[in-house]
């Protein structure tokens, strides 16, 4: 098996084992209903995590994701409820704002030569602050379009529902997979994550790629915000607090190397599903309190980081040989 596929395989096997164990304890988990809800409940996280995957693949980090989601929900809500715009117009404006925001952060990271986490930290403050300045209170969205979207779904055998937002997440993952593995931009991202200096010497347009990566991440966070506003039918400046951490955890659990350069967008999907499984399991169990989610996700994160260490340090000496062959 290809060496770089190992972390992905490990994640997939662990997810399969964990799901099997959960089903063994609660047979009710094995239904398309639960699977459909997995997709719907984690749609915003999954979409944001795709963007995060690209950022981490390039060796950076984006802490502004949760704040951009919160800002987008408020912006969409104000545009629809106060501005009287059609939701689709509001969505387009929100995506444009998010993209510009990401481009500005990418430019700051590249041209000011500042670590990405501090720039995106400033971005996080700005987006959260901007959202609360727009409206400190939660704004409910009442619009025929929202009702229609939340009532549209594809019914699976067994009663499971693939909702619009679940479908959007799957499409975003498909888009991310193609973008990462089949386009010039994707190759540039991997090259940048491997080594920025080598990438620049190879002719990778570092400035453009960096700006595009953060634009992509923020745009997807904006899309996640739209999905979140569809999911909750509201805009609130404090929604999706800490989602950036969940997204980072999903990416890491999905087998993407934090130092950049290795990883798969598909792994992130499994990472998101694994987090969803932990939450659903805790709900099914009923006796476990909600804080166990955080502890288990922290433990999973730790386990996968260690796993990466072990897998990559154990095979590092052989790397040259496999590449020559």
């Amino acid at each position: 098996m290809n060496r770089s596929l190992r972390p992905l395989a490990a994640t997939a096997i662990i997810f399969a084992l964990a799901y099997a164990a959960a089903i063994w304890q609660f047979p009710g988990l094995w239904s398309t209903r639960v699977l459909g809800n997995f997709l719907t409940d984690n749609a915003f996280l999954g979409i944001a995590a795709v963007g995060m995957t690209f950022v981490i693949l390039s060796g950076g980090i984006d802490l502004s994701v949760g704040a951009v989601i919160g800002f987008t929900t408020v912006l969409v809500a104000t545009l629809i409820m106060w501005g009287g715009l059609h939701p689709l117009v509001a969505f387009a404006i929100a995506l444009g704002v998010a993209a510009a925001f990401g481009a500005a952060m990418g430019a700051a990271i590249h041209y000011l030569k500042v670590p990405s986490f501090i720039v995106t930290l400033a971005g996080m403050f700005l987006a959260r602050g901007g959202a609360s300045v727009l409206s400190p209170d939660s704004i409910g969205i009442k619009h025929a379009f929202f009702t229609t979207v939340s009532k549209t779904y594809i019914l699976f055998p067994g009663g499971g529902r693939l909702t619009v937002i679940g479908g959007v997440m799957l499409l975003v993952f498909l888009f991310g997979i193609v973008l990462a593995h089949r386009t010039r931009f994707g190759s540039c991202v991997y090259a940048l994550g491997g080594s920025e200096t080598s990438a620049a010497l190879m002719g990778v347009p570092v400035a453009r790629t960096t700006i595009l990566i953060y634009t992509l991440s923020s745009t997807l966070a904006g899309l996640a915000g739209i999905v979140f506003s569809l999911y909750t039918s509201a805009g609130y400046s404090l929604s999706a607090v800490g989602v950036e951490l969940d997204a980072i955890a999903a990416v890491v659990i999905g087998g993407t190397l934090l130092t950049g350069g290795y990883g798969f967008v598909a792994g992130t999907l499994i990472g998101v599903m694994l987090q969803g499984l932990v939450q659903t399991y805790i709900v099914f169990d009923g006796t476990l309190s909600s804080w166990w989610t955080k502890i288990v996700i922290g433990a999973l994160l730790f386990m996968f980081i260690l796993l990466q260490r072990v897998v990559f340090s154990a095979t590092a000496p052989r790397r040259k040989v496999t590449w020559k062959a």
């Binding site: 996080m124 901007g130 502890i295």
Partner: protein, 353 residues
């Protein structure tokens, strides 16, 4: 014919600024200017800002309040400075604050003597820091990610300790840590000042500060130079954990309860911001503990200013992000190049015949 382009070797980071020459040059630093500007704005908005009164055996006034409210972040910033000086970062301090507060609160409510509860809470902070240090040194994980584990799981652990509720207490010693006063000054100010003086003396009067800077500039080089980088990193992360625990005790004592969900929430970001404002390089190798404390005071002065000016507290975040962006631009290589060109131009003219 030689086709290789000429190579001009230049240091990756600008050489550290020379040690301050005297009090005048220290007071002329941009941080002091910024603090004075913020205080002046506060004074314009609220003419009684500098009034300090003596009441019930302690000092009262807006200025004292700024220092008092700024103390938890200042204490975090002291630990964070050491970590950032080694080219690391500690995202878990907020969660460690929650753990320490929860541990102390649960222990005193179950009848354990206060001194023991406080010691255990501080020890818990040390252990949390040690855990981060072990991940960074022995497993060689990047600091952001290593401390992210505890940031995610730590709040869960704190909730596990308090069993999800806010544990309130009436233990006089814990309340004294949060709201008491020593010689007229609120305890948090005294604790933060003591910690700052001790830490600054230890790093500047011994070789420790130099060793930390060496590890921050280049860990392998420091190791080859005979510095035990691992022990040093373990020490630095444990110290950050200890500072976080102390800060957690103050916050818990202040509200007379341990709130596992909200104690220290996002304070790690404020602490990092304070360190950055203080001029410590995020790339490691140059740090100043008193300047980080000053950074924390500047942040708190801004917070207080926004509160007394009648703006909604939400503007805080926007202002903070504006400040970060300004500092990043000022610290960027472009700005440095501009300054260098200005200062280099006359000397090069003078030297050339």
């Amino acid at each position: 014919m030689n086709t290789r382009p000429p190579v001009f070797p230049s240091p990756a980071t600008p050489p550290p600024i020379a040690r301050p020459a005297g009090w005048a040059s220290v007071l002329l630093r941009p941080q002091f200017m910024a603090l004075l500007a913020v205080l002046a704005v506060n004074w314009v908005l609220f003419p009684g800002f500098f009034n300090i009164t003596w009441q019930d055996g302690r000092l009262f006034g807006s200025l004292i309040d700024v220092l008092n409210r700024g103390a938890p972040v200042a204490i975090l910033a002291i630990g964070m400075t050491a970590v950032i000086a080694t080219k690391g970062v500690d995202l878990s301090v907020g969660a460690v604050m929650a753990i320490a507060g929860a541990a102390a609160a649960v222990m005193v409510t179950s009848g354990v003597p206060a001194w023991l509860a406080v010691s255990v809470a501080l020890a818990a902070g040390l252990v949390c820091g040690l855990w981060n240090g072990v991940l960074v040194t022995f497993f060689d994980i990047q600091p952001i990610i290593a401390t992210l584990v505890l940031m995610v799981a730590g709040r869960g652990l704190a909730q596990l300790i308090t069993e999800g509720s806010i544990v309130t207490f009436s233990d006089p010693f814990l309340i004294f840590i949060g709201t008491g006063s020593v010689l007229g000054l609120p305890t948090p100010i005294v604790l933060a000042t003591l910690l700052m003086v001790i830490a600054a003396l230890i790093v500047r009067r011994t070789a420790l500060g130099l060793l930390i800077e060496a590890v921050g500039v280049n860990r392998s080089a420091a190791r080859f130079a005979g510095i035990s980088a691992r022990t040093l990193l373990l020490l630095v992360y444990s110290f950050a954990g200890f500072c976080a625990a102390l800060s957690g005790l103050i916050v818990a004592g202040d509200i007379r309860g341990a709130d596992a969900n909200n104690a220290g929430l996002w304070l790690e970001l404020d602490a990092i911001l304070a360190v950055v404002i203080g001029g410590t390089s995020l790339l490691g190798g140059r740090f100043s503990i008193p300047m980080s404390v000053l950074g924390a005071v500047i942040i708190q002065a801004m917070n207080t200013g926004i509160l007394i000016s009648g703006f909604s507290p939400e503007f805080n975040l926007v202002v903070k992000s504006g400040v970060i962006i300004l500092i990043l631009v000022l610290q960027s290589p472009y700005a440095a190049r501009l300054v260098q060109r200005k200062s280099a131009a006359p000397t090069s003219k003078g030297r050339q015949p």
